[in-house]
Amino acid sequence: MQHSTQPRRACITGCGALSPIGNSMAAFWEGLVAGRTGLQTIRAFDTTGMTVANAGEVKDFDPQARLSGEEVQRLERIHQFGLFTARQALEDGQLDLHGVDRSRVALIVATSLGGMLVGEEYQRQKASGVGEFDMHRLFDFPYYATATGLARELGVRGPVVSPSIACASGTQVVGMALELIRAGHADICLVGGVETLCAFVVNGFNCLRATTTDTVRPFDARRSGLLLGEGAAMLVVEERQHARARGARTDVEVIGTGLAGDATHMTAPARDGAGAARAMRMALADAAVAPTAVDFVSAHGTGTVYNDAMEMAAIESVLGEAAGRIPVNSIKGAIGHTLAAAGSFEAIMCAQILRTQVIPATVNCEQLDPACHLDIIMGAARRQPVRTILSTSSAFAGNNAAIVLRCSDTA
């Protein structure tokens, strides 16, 4: 532990996004504000026999825009996604890792699927006996290979870890960056989530009957399920003094993080939202922010009946009487549920909201659930002052994560 009279603070100094609505942070943000959706019929693999075959795929991905020909040839699709987006974030943060002490750089990359495309191909080849499979590719199969592969490409020498709390991981990694910086383990944390869509997971959510044949409608009275998405979202979270010393922007700060378990069910959220509420309260307490000071909530908002109902209850219980006055959105209607990357995409959106004071609307929410007493932003993006944001995610195994971001003061 590093001891200092001043607590160490963490700022978001760079962002990168590769999403179903755009392959850069700017395009992602522009798509959110415009209310675009990237959900459509899956094209990347055969969907014959699947009950639901729509999802948010990354389109027109041109890895060579940021990767060398040799890297494109050598790296699996998931590593291409990760490296492509990490380089965006570093560029956005004007950060050259060769110019910093890389033993003070951490890499925290969440993924629920990792190299599953490799695993699928391996098992198909083994079962059919047709064709050849390069067994060396199996090194990219384990979950941790997504993080360690990226760390090798970037020459990172600090902590490298791939947290796995399923669909809440993308929020957790941002909170973990704050913790690593506070504890003195790192000055720079490159964090985010990476997922590549595959038949394995589409069939999984289909068999749970969690997907919809309609479209994703978070908090809508007609909502009937989720659709999956893919992509990568990476953020540079940096110790404030370190960022200032190199002239990086320090206008958005991560100030609190909370994690809590439902301890009730493996795949369904606690109906009363108690676990999600606990995580939100922990994050607010960690940030020393009163619920009444929250100006916007980025919800998990998957569009399933039970998740959204749980979240309505949780957000209401945390924000109390102010709940109806605080705007809330979900971006799952725009990009789908990107699993472990979801919370990181939402963190990038939150940073942009703090910088632009514009809140994107909840795509496809047209008839608000009468049971919802929250100010769900519908229709068009809204311009209003936002200084403090609460972002929340929930997941299988009863995991809940929340973070608090705010416009940084100048002190």
Binding site: S103, G119, Y144, T148, V160, P163, S164, A260, A263, N399
Partner: protein, 400 residues
Amino acid sequence: MTDSVVISGIGVISPLGSTLGQIAARFCAGQRALRPLSDMGVDSAFGAPLDEIPVDVIPADKRSRIGRLDRLCRLFLSAAYAAVGAAQLSIDDADADRVALSFGTGLGCLLTNAEYNQKLVEHGPTAASPRLFAYTVSSAAAGEVSIALGIKGANVTSHAGLAAGLQAIGYGFDLIRMGKADVVLAGGADALGAALVRGLADMQLLKTRAAQAFRSPVAGVCPAEGAAVVVLERGDRALRRGARVLARIDGYAAGFEPSLTQRRREPTAIAETMCRALALSGRAAGDVGVVITSAHATALDALELAALQSVLADSTSPVLCAPKAACGETFGAHGALGVALATALFNEPARAADNVAFGLDGVSLQAGDAQNRLQRARLALIHALCYSGPTVTLVLAREN
């Protein structure tokens, strides 16, 4: 920041046994748990599968779910119950949100993923199993433990390859130090099964002949399985409730050595991370009496040894232990099992045999010498190193 973080209970399931006394005695006696893996579809390879995962530590009224759990969940659940039992810890609703879980696993739910996907490959989308799919997230094991024990605080599962278990214990240490939890069940586990062994065989990563740690590198692993979960607790809390303190964690650090998969490997980040762990703990390298190494008779042993020689140059007589020689490659469980072994060596008297411990030169110590050094040891370094780069060091102090 909280002043001290102690270990008040340990649950262990390993090829060497399921109590601290067993693993200390068998390790010191030089016993090996490795056996042929012919029942997993490969000949001429060795590993250490568990004959059974003990479930008697799980209360009878909590065993109804065991039948639906995969092997990783069973390992974590059994080890967690054993740890809570050893710590005489009760978790009630009043403090459930101040109790956290931090688990690490190298391969996670690989076996369940393989089983679930095999059905898809053979029979198509209609064969997708909701029961199996629910366990295709690595956090399922921690979820099961949280449900069984009523734990409502942070619930984190981390992948860091073969360093995952130790990284998870380090993160648990941080959670308490930062005031995010009062108690953390932290540890690592990995499960062995035919799908994993076949994959390792396809990758030509199974050792096919005997090798000795630090001396005769042979590529590959002798795959094994196991779990260790420790109860981490604020020192003052443990004292107040009269818990037996087994050891104290003084610090940890995690790093990454990017050269490990390159032709020219270097120990730079391994040594940096060890130094950082010692610096953060406030302890001197000269105080280190025991090192639980990651050595598995591969080419990485030499790098680990070089890092230790540079970091511990001022230490007069550290004992280097290589538990993987006895129980195989336990993947993400290794570091957590290493914490259990070091704690056992601190607390359980055991006579050391020849060829179980090494000096800083990598040469085997004679039994008497090893025994004397181990008895004097007050501080341990636990080191976990993954072939793909992660390196974690934890500083563990004797408390009695």
